[in-house]
């Protein structure tokens, strides 16, 4: 086989940073908020319970209101952060690879080649199922755990993506 070594103009290469990221499903926001509610709701309710009983110094009783208030405040903050975090998340498909961006403070973009994917897993927990959501996990060689996990996809989208990527990957593997 003749050896061909063409010059590559690196300015002309397809640029991964210009990709238009597709936001996650709208249901993902609702699911994440529900998750926060499920954690902080019971905490707030539980910390109100002492108010039902007579507590001798009235000042202590009103001071105890600070606990549910604090939980509400923290819960609200977490909600805000979760919403912002979801807004940052996004993915984009190209012919040969998938890009995934995440991270509110530490912004991370992963690019994964279809031809390197060894297997793909679609999984969904009970809460995710309620909202019709699923997570997509990619495994490549060498990595011991999940190499890329995309949360907050609609179940049918996740399945479609999985089929598409496996199909692409198999095509890339055939020499």
């Amino acid at each position: 086989m003749a050896f061909i070594n063409l010059q590559i103009d690196t300015d002309e290469l397809p640029r991964a940073e210009d990709l238009q990221m597709q936001p996650m499903a709208a249901a993902y926001q609702r699911e994440s908020l529900t998750q926060v509610l499920l954690v902080f709701g019971p905490l707030v309710l539980l910390s109100i319970i002492p108010q039902l009983f007579p507590i001798t110094p009235p000042i202590l009783k009103s001071l105890l209101w600070l606990i549910p208030l604090g939980f509400l405040l923290i819960g609200g903050l977490v909600m805000l952060l979760v919403m912002k975090q979801i807004k940052v998340k996004g993915y984009a498909l190209r012919d040969h690879d998938i890009a995934y961006r995440s991270g509110l403070f530490w912004r991370k973009t992963t690019l994964l080649l279809f031809s390197r994917v060894q297997h793909v897993e679609v999984s969904s927990g009970p809460l995710q199922r309620r909202f019709g959501l699923a997570s997509l996990k990619f495994f490549t060689a060498g990595g011991s755990s999940v190499d890329l996990k995309i949360e907050g996809l609609l179940r049918e989208d996740a399945e479609k993506l999985k089929e598409f990527i496996l199909h692409r990957g198999a095509g890339g593997n055939e020499t």
């Binding site: 397809p14 040969h96 991270g103 994964l112 990595g143």
Partner: protein, 511 residues
């Protein structure tokens, strides 16, 4: 295709019993290391009666181990068909393994000293995939093992044999590296450098309860108390100090010796040859190790030179292959040598030449490295150490004397020099089809990988880095991951685009 019945189940040589015994002993040792230490301490504090029972217990354990090994041998059967190896093994947990030649990652032939006189060997097969496992067929004829390896590796990739005359083995192997005893001694000195430093410091500073008990026991057995008293009476404290110092020196000299011995046993008579695109290395003093590796299986070269190696002007090259599963999966045994084809103690010129042999057209000595951002690299790497150091210095400074604050500038000065040095070493480069990443302090570690073999690329930014246009770039290979810190974002993007382009436009298989 022969009918299945032709390939029957074979049994291995009874010498395999020794192999099984050693295997059990090794497993017991590594998995029971903490228990062993405790047991030592227990023996140290035990009276004669208990020692009696402990020794009986050990005998029973040994007999059990021997019986288990014999049973393992009796249960062990192997069978080779046209495209797979089948194994039956296990005493309590019986299993039947079925390994396709295609999935075989690496084959090592070991000739342990107790098998060599009879021309027997141990064939170890490493497979890739999620169900990672290394299997061994101990006690088969060496010739059979060699021909089996030829068949398995030869049959592993039928799709690459498009031009048989050009690619297939020519029969005569080219000698690439032959190491002398001297080279191996140097490798022994440079190899487990950090390891014996750690042991030495551990011996000096380690003083927890267990080691105290152990030393007490040791001292009692050899009447060291008397010796110390005698020395002190005869020559005073000075002589005692000398004796202690001498002992310490002895340990410090002994440790490298142990390391050298290890290197000698493992690498004596090291020869690396190339036959077509197959590399073979054989080495070993008592037990001979015979490894082979196909060129296309190399995922990355790691050129290493630590401080001592730098003094001797030697470089070692690791040929990294696809790592099978996580480190934790391979049990509690040290997995340093797994999937790790090492060419030790090379002179720089030869190391460079060899890199070009493993990766055609690759010239590490001509790589021109781009440095990373100095300010962020320095500030962050120093802060990581300086902040805790300051906090620690705060306590004695406030409690005892404010003079303790003087420690901080001293530490900062040392840190500055160390970090600056590390910054000078940190760099990356793209030359031809290869990416280079360099790091180090006194020594240097250079990783070279074909750009098209990447699996995945991450770009990660903190908010500050984002504002300053910097980023961490992590390149994930099938063998390991390499991180380039504080890289200019344009460069990182370009690196990523180029590597992706190389990987996506190439039809060559990465595995």
């Amino acid at each position: 295709m022969k009918p299945e019945g032709v390939h029957r189940w074979y049994r291995v040589s009874p010498l395999a019993i020794i192999f099984f015994i050693l295997g059990i002993a090794q497993k017991l040792f590594w998995q029971g290391l903490p228990a062993l230490v405790v047991m030592f301490a227990w023996i140290a504090s035990a009276d004669d009666y208990q020692v009696y029972w402990i020794s009986r217990g050990l005998v029973v354990l040994a007999v059990l181990g021997f019986g288990f090994s014999v049973l393992s041998y009796l249960r062990f059967r192997y069978r080779i068909t046209d495209d797979r190896v089948l194994l039956r093994q296990g005493v309590l947990h019986r299993e039947e393994l079925d390994i396709e030649f295609q999935r075989v990652q690496n084959i090592t032939i070991k000739e342990p000293f107790y098998m060599r006189p009879l021309g027997l060997s141990v064939l170890s097969i490493e497979t890739a995939g999620s169900r990672e496992k290394e299997i061994s067929i101990a006690g088969i004829k060496r010739d059979l093992a060699l021909s089996l390896r030829e068949r398995i590796i030869g049959g592993a990739r039928p799709e690459t044999t498009e031009s048989p005359g050009q690619q297939s083995n020519t029969g005569e192997a080219r000698l690439l590296v032959e190491l002398s005893r001297r080279d191996i001694l140097i490798h022994g000195l440079t190899a487990n450098f950090m390891f014996w430093i750690l042991i030495a410091t551990g011996l000096v500073f380690g003083s927890d309860e267990l080691s105290k008990r152990f030393f007490n026991w040791f001292a009692n057995r050899f009447a060291i108390d008397d010796m110390v008293l005698y020395l002190q009476n005869e020559g005073g404290t000075l002589l005692l100090g000398f004796a202690l110092f001498g002992l310490l020196l002895l340990v410090l000299i002994l440790l490298p010796l142990v390391s050298i011995m290890g290197a000698l046993f493992r690498y004596d008579g090291y020869r690396l040859t190339a036959d077509g695109e197959t590399y073979r290395k054989s080495s070993g003093l008592l037990t001979r190790f015979d490894d082979s590796l196909k060129q296309h299986k190399i995922q990355a070269l790691v050129l290493k030179q630590n401080a001592i190696a730098r003094y001797f002007k030697r470089i070692s090259i690791q040929l990294r292959q696809t790592s099978a599963g996580s480190e934790a999966d391979s049990g509690s045994m040290p997995s340093g040598t797994r999937s790790n084809f090492l060419v030790p103690a090379l002179r720089p010129a030869l190391a460079s030449e060899l890199s070009g042999e493993f990766f055609p057209e690759c010239r590490p000595d001509q790589a021109i490295y781009t440095r990373v951002d100095q300010r962020r690299f320095m500030v962050f790497n120093m802060a990581v150490f300086l902040l805790p150091a300051t906090l620690v210095a705060l306590i004695p400074a406030l409690l005892v004397s404010l003079k303790f604050f003087l420690v901080i500038p001293v530490i900062a000065g040392i840190l500055y020099m160390v970090t600056n040095r590390r910054w000078q070493k940190a760099g990356y480069c793209v030359a031809g089809d290869y990416g280079f990443v360099r790091s180090g302090f006194i020594g240097t570690t250079t990783t070279i990988f074909p750009l098209f073999k990447i699996q995945r690329i991450d770009i990660r930014q903190t908010p500050i880095q984002h504002r300053k246009g910097l980023t961490h770039l992590t390149i994930h290979l099938a063998s390991h991951s390499i991180k380039v810190p504080y890289m200019a974002i344009e460069d990182a993007n370009r690196f990523r685009d180029l590597a992706l382009y190389c990987a996506e436009s190439s039809n060559a298989a990465w595995y």
